[in-house]
Amino acid sequence: MGLFVKGAIKVMVQKIRAVLFYLSVVLFLALTPVILFYSFGYKLDIDRLRIIKTGLIYLKSTPDGARVYLDTRRLNQATPVSIEGLLPGEYTVFLELEEYYPWYQKVRVESGKFTVLDNIVLFPVKPYLGKINAADVDDFYIFPNDKDYIYYIHANKTAISRVSLNPREKEAELLTGRVNLAGNIKDFSLSPDKNKILYFYGNKLDVVYLDGEKQDFFITADHKIISAFWYSDSERVVAVTDNDIRIYELSSQGRENTVKILNINDRRSRAFYDNVEDTLYFTDTQVGADGNQHRGLYRMDISKRAAPTLIDNIEQDIRYNER
């Protein structure tokens, strides 16, 4: 009896195995052509009973979930979506999402090709609007070296405050209330140690201490200041005027140890200061060997490690050109 049952189980298992095997073969034979045709973009046109080669469009929007219209026909799917089985031709794709401006574009579909539009941005009709501060504002700055805060000048131009860019921290912080800012200020700059702000207008350059521990001071240069930069240690200021380049030392309130490092001819010199490397890039005009004025681009290393010869070379070069 036991042997009979054992034999019967064995036969049954082998029968089930055979069924599974043939089922797998049938499944493979049936699925493979269908999936291959689909993968290569072929589609069965039931009306005409023929196989046609189609194209597809892939749409991805930010935010996702936009309703998709293809030539006014609404599709059942939302973005991201791939619209498959499209006959070659031009289609108008229209995206619609509540409370966002709609988006549309004409898209050309080619046979057996795909078009990807995955950088669609939908802008809100009512974008988020939040008031950052309470006081009246004259001007504001977001300094590259302190992107956590927005610094603003009060409307009466006597105070500077800052407020965090994090919307959860709404409290403004008054940094100084004893300035008297002129109307023609050209630029503001925050020191690398985030403790001082400099600004300049005409031939005047003012440095304001934000912690109030030191007294603010004001420099009057001999010439019109075009640009001013912080030296990397936050203790010096590099100023480019329409006549020269100078370095002011803050510890002496700009009165002593002011170095005129280079004379320049360019009345509207463009300058950029890399305060990581303490290198000044600037333009200057010189008379060339042909007797014409030439505007050149220079680099000046004024870091603490700089070799003096480099500056000499520039001076010599400029002097040579001057001759």
């Binding site: 195995r17 797998s24 493979f28 493979t32 993968s39 194209g55």
Partner: protein, 495 residues
């Protein structure tokens, strides 16, 4: 004539590597030369793979169910109920070929033998040492002192080195021991027909009911001497202490054995197995010059009986050691070498085909089927993982460049992604099944190891890349180049 046979031998040694490399090269060349042909091939292959994995997983579930069902059977009492005239006469002889294994490995294997419920007066144990190992005699003495009183006969054999015609293989050692056993049986007047011989790896620990189960199958199958008896190898001895990486490789090995137990026409002896001692003597013992002695003994018997020989699956486990190292890299190297040795089983292909050529009694369709099965299992081992884990993703990376805006370039990653994730469902099933194959957690193993047992399956893609195809491809290439492998010892480690 001699030259001709050498030519045929080399031709059949080269064949598997040529097929495997051709498949890989066709895919690779098509990727860059004919991308659309590549897409067609890879999608077809992916569909084939998903359906095959589904089919094999169904077989695994059946086999696993069967294993669970037969786990608690009292096989000895079933044997008694048979009232078979030979039931009381059968001796169980076991050979443990040992090489560098110490007492920490051999001890538990013999202890498991001691704990079986088979009558000990019908059990013969032979521990087969290699004479070239300096500490063999000492180890033998210690084990004899501990176990000789428990069995009808406990024997230690010492296989001499440098016997002409032999290689340094496990098969040579087992054959030497079998000959000593034969002398013993002759001296005691025991018929070979009444002896079932089991050849176990040194780390094999049998279950209490193993020999009862073996006897039951021996007494109930048709032509018992024309069968090998194959238990399901699991790697539970040290599985809780092994790394996740090694664990999933070994669990997968057990799974493949379970799957093969359902495909009887492909089922071949592997690792620890049993057979009639008379058959072993008749076919001339295990091969003494080949690494794959476990599968070759089946083929020797298959040829001897002109195809009227089969492997009977026994849904009872024998437990062995997971091979692992001190760190991931060492584990990877150990596992790679072990799998390469298993993949060296392809050496049976030229042996079988050359013998088929000379044997006119085996029908042609059987020869073709068997040859196809050997090739299919080894070629798929050497190529599938490589195609899935390396060739397929490689083309995805260059998809934009290769397909230049064609619909197939857009659809290919999506379709292969969907097909591949379908196979992940089967990985989930493998994970669930693995829980019931695990032994109880030892006390010294922390609870978080249980979590690892589940999460370890995330390593599956990594395992596929690392040692999926490469050991098999390596072994086939070596065989094709005539760089024959010697038996490499896999270090066993227990905590």
């Amino acid at each position: 004539m001699k030259d001709n046979s050498y030519f045929y031998k080399r031709a059949f040694e080269i064949t598997p590597a040529v097929i495997s490399w051709s498949i890989l090269l066709i895919f690779l060349c098509a990727t860059f030369l004919k991308p659309k042909v590549y897409a067609l091939l890879i999608i077809t292959f992916d569909i084939f793979w998903v359906i095959r994995v589904g089919y094999l997983t169904s077989l695994l579930s059946f086999a696993h169910h069967r294993l669970n069902k037969e786990k608690n059977k009292n096989w000895l009492s079933l044997c008694e109920k048979l009232s078979h005239p030979r039931g009381q006469k059968i001796y169980q002889a076991v050979i443990f070929p040992a090489y560098k294994e110490g007492l920490d490995i051999l001890g538990p294997s013999l202890e498991a033998m001691k704990n079986t419920n088979y009558p000990k007066e019908k059990m013969i144990v032979v521990v087969a040492f290699e004479e070239r190992m300096a500490d063999s005699r000492e180890k033998a003495k210690m084990l004899e002192a501990r176990y000789k009183d428990y069995f009808f006969v406990y024997l230690s054999s010492f296989h001499p080195d440098n016997i002409e015609g032999e290689a340094r293989t496990k098969g040579a050692n087992a054959t030497w021991a079998a000959k000593r056993l034969q002398e013993l049986l002759d001296s005691k007047g025991i018929n070979y027909e009444d002896v079932i011989i089991s050849c176990f790896d040194a780390d094999t620990c049998v279950e209490k009911e193993y020999f009862g189960c073996l006897l039951y199958h021996y007494l109930t199958v048709d032509k018992p001497q024309q069968c090998s008896y194959q238990p399901i190898p699991v790697y539970n001895n040290n599985i809780w202490h092994a790394s996740s990486f090694a664990r999933i490789i070994e669990i997968s090995s057990s799974y493949f054995q379970l799957i093969d137990s359902m495909r009887l026409e492909k089922f071949v002896t592997f690792s620890s197995h049993s057979m009639s001692f008379k058959t072993l003597v008749d076919v001339g013992y295990w091969p003494v010059d080949k690494v794959s002695d476990d599968s070759l003994i089946y083929w020797k018997a298959y040829l001897y009986y002109n195809s009227d020989y089969r492997v009977v699956p026994m849904y009872i486990t024998v437990s062995m050691d997971v091979a692992y190292g001190k760190n991931l890299l060492q584990t990877l190297v150990i596992q790679y070498r072990q799998k390469r040795r298993w993949a060296w089983g392809i050496e049976v292909f030229p042996y079988v085909i050359l013998n088929f050529k000379d044997n006119k009694l085996i029908p042609l369709h059987k020869k073709l089927r068997k040859a196809f099965h050997i090739l299919d299992s080894h070629v798929s081992w050497a190529t599938y993982a490589m195609l899935l884990a390396v060739v397929s993703p490689l083309a995805m990376l260059f998809s934009n460049y290769l397909f230049k805006g064609a619909v197939i370039g857009f659809n290919l990653p999506r379709i292969t992604g969907v097909l591949f994730s379908l196979t992940n469902i089967t990985v989930l099933l493998w994970m669930i099944l693995s829980l019931s194959l695990m032994p109880p957690k030892p006390k010294d193993v922390k609870f978080r190891a249980r979590i690892k047992i589940v999460t370890q399956w995330l390593f599956m893609p990594l395992v596929m890349i690392a040692i999926g195809s490469t050991p098999a491809l390596d072994a086939q290439t070596r065989l094709a180049l005539g760089k024959y492998m010697a038996f490499s010892y896999t270090e066993k480690k227990r905590k």
